[in-house]
Amino acid sequence: MKLITAIIKPFKLDDVRQAVSEVGVQGVTVTEVRGFGRQRGHTEIYRGAEYMVEFVPKTKIEIAVDDVLVDQVIEAIAKSAQTGKVGDGKIFVFDLAQVVRIRTGERDSGAL
């Protein structure tokens, strides 16, 4: 099992949700986050006072999947979140040690 974490552009969330659903993902967790990468930030000016906004708003999604699905999900995210411009985000994949469905107590693959 793997935990796939992706940082994407906020307006791409709906496309990504649809794409991963189509390859069989049953659940996604979404968080609003801020950060910087190569995109860097932008400058805001209020009555002449300039502020560098170094952390850009992004959306983080987390998906736990069985090993067989990993490549398909990565591909779905990469395709649906891509605009081709700097700041499209990144995908991180982690090994997942255990999964428990709280309602039933099912474990691991059965809980996904």
Binding site: R47, G48, Y51
Partner: protein, 426 residues
């Protein structure tokens, strides 16, 4: 507020028969009074509240609200009497302390008191209308020292300032025995009394208090410009009560003052936004809202004296000059006038007061613009700047040496909402 001059005109508040009251004038002045109060709460409170950081929004709203209550009571105690009854050339008398003698008698005479400055409306309405000016003026100062004054110090400062600075300046400029009034200074609705006065007190307070912690290093961007734009819009609408209400009547001059106000405000809002667009690359929401307020300020002294075309010129001048004051001057000079009380109200008030001397029209007011009138205006400006700056600084320094002006470093970092009021919007 123009004085009423006639051979047999009363020179002090007096009793008249109810038949002398003009119901149209009275209706408009009741309306204007409500409009001007709306400028402070919620207009100014939101305008400022949106511009501060999230941790200080409630304390900023609280300041305006508390000043409204505080000045109301002080106006009743002595403020109105010191400002608007005859006395010396510098301060009125005490005859109307606690609104003493301000009456309406149903039986048997059907008489009521009127101010000598507004003969066709009840004195209760005149005093209440002027109260709303006395409220907004100190509330404007708070923009200069946002985020760092103790609430207790604020109450003491505002009380002292209202009685020792606002009342005398209002008397000097507006009451028939005031020396600036006698000298011919023109201030229709308070460019000098309200805006220069508040702006200069703001400058004094940000100099005495010092900069906000982290000024120039930490991000101090406005937390919610939606509130600020709503506030600016309420100020704009309320300002019709301020300027057109200063006619003291529902007449042609009130109508002209309203038209001039609208023209100047629109011109100033666009000129600030375009100046910003040209020099900084983007026209901002904060910019257009600030420009509108700058235009409202600058047309205030001129509104009942000029026609719509000079109003546009005054607006353009105020938009550009206040833009420079708020975006460049304060950074060059190095003071932290946090929400630009001086940059907008001080500078805008001075621009308007001087241009009133240029553009005043005989057709509207009986006087024409001249170099002599500009110099008279300059005397009014200089008096307010010098007296206001010195008196405000002295009051602030005395408070600083006794109960202390500024919150602790820890309180300032935490934000005044939590540290002074025990509340937050989170």
């Amino acid at each position: 507020m123009q004085s009423v001059w006639a051979a047999d005109a009363p020179t002090a508040p007096s009793l008249v028969g109810v038949d002398k009251i003009n119901s149209g004038d009275t209706a408009w002045m009741l309306t204007s009074t409500a409009l001007v109060l709306m400028m402070s709460i919620p207009g100014l409170a939101l305008f400022y509240g949106g511009m501060v950081r999230k941790k200080n929004v409630l304390s900023t709203l609280m300041q305006t609200f508390a000043i409204t209550c505080l000045v109301t009571l002080l106006w009743w105690v002595i403020g109105y009497s010191w400002a608007f009854t005859p006395g010396s050339r510098y301060l009125g008398g005490a005859s109307r302390a606690f609104f003493n003698g301000m009456t309406f008698m149903h039986d048997p005479d059907k008489k009521l008191s009127v101010s000598h400055l507004a003969l066709t409306i009840p004195e209760s309405v005149y005093a209440m209308f002027q109260m709303t000016f006395a409220i907004i003026t100190p509330a404007l100062i708070a923009g200069a020292f946002a985020d760092r004054m103790k609430f207790s110090a604020l109450l003491v400062f505002m009380a002292a300032w209202s009685l020792l600075v606002y009342a005398p300046i209002a008397h000097m400029v507006w009451e028939s025995t005031g020396w600036l009034n006698l000298a011919g200074v023109l201030d229709y609705a308070g460019g000098t009394v309200v805006h220069i006065n508040a702006g200069v007190a703001g400058l004094a307070s940000c100099l005495v208090l010092g900069k906000r912690l982290g000024y120039g290093k930490e991000k101090m961007a406005p937390h919610n410009l939606t509130l600020t734009l709503i506030g600016a819009s309420l100020l704009w609408v309320g300002w019709f009560g301020f300027n057109a209400g200063s006619a003291g009547a529902a007449d042609g001059r009130a109508g002209m003052a309203m038209l001039a106000t609208q023209m100047a405000t629109a011109a100033a809002a666009l000129s600030w936004a375009f100046a910003e667009w040209i020099s900084r690359g983007k026209p901002s929401v904060l910019g257009i809202a600030s420009g509108a307020v700058a235009g409202l300020v600058a047309i205030t002294p001129a509104s009942g004296f000029v026609g719509p075309t000079p109003a546009v010129i005054i607006g353009v001048a105020a938009g550009v000059l206040c833009f420079i004051a708020a975006t460049s001057l304060k950074h060059v000079m190095g003071y932290d006038d946090s929400l630009d009380a001086f940059g907008v109200h001080g500078i805008g008030g001075i621009v308007g007061a001087l241009l009133t001397g240029v553009f005043v029209s005989k057709e509207i007011s009986g006087v024409d613009g001249s170099l002599k009138q500009v110099l008279i205006q300059l005397m009014g400006v200089a008096t307010t700047v010098i007296y206001g700056f010195i008196a405000s600084s002295v009051i602030l320094i005395i408070i600083d040496k006794t109960i202390g002006l500024r919150v602790s470093e820890e309180q300032e970092r935490e934000g005044l909402d939590i540290s002074l009021h025990g509340e937050s919007i989170e």
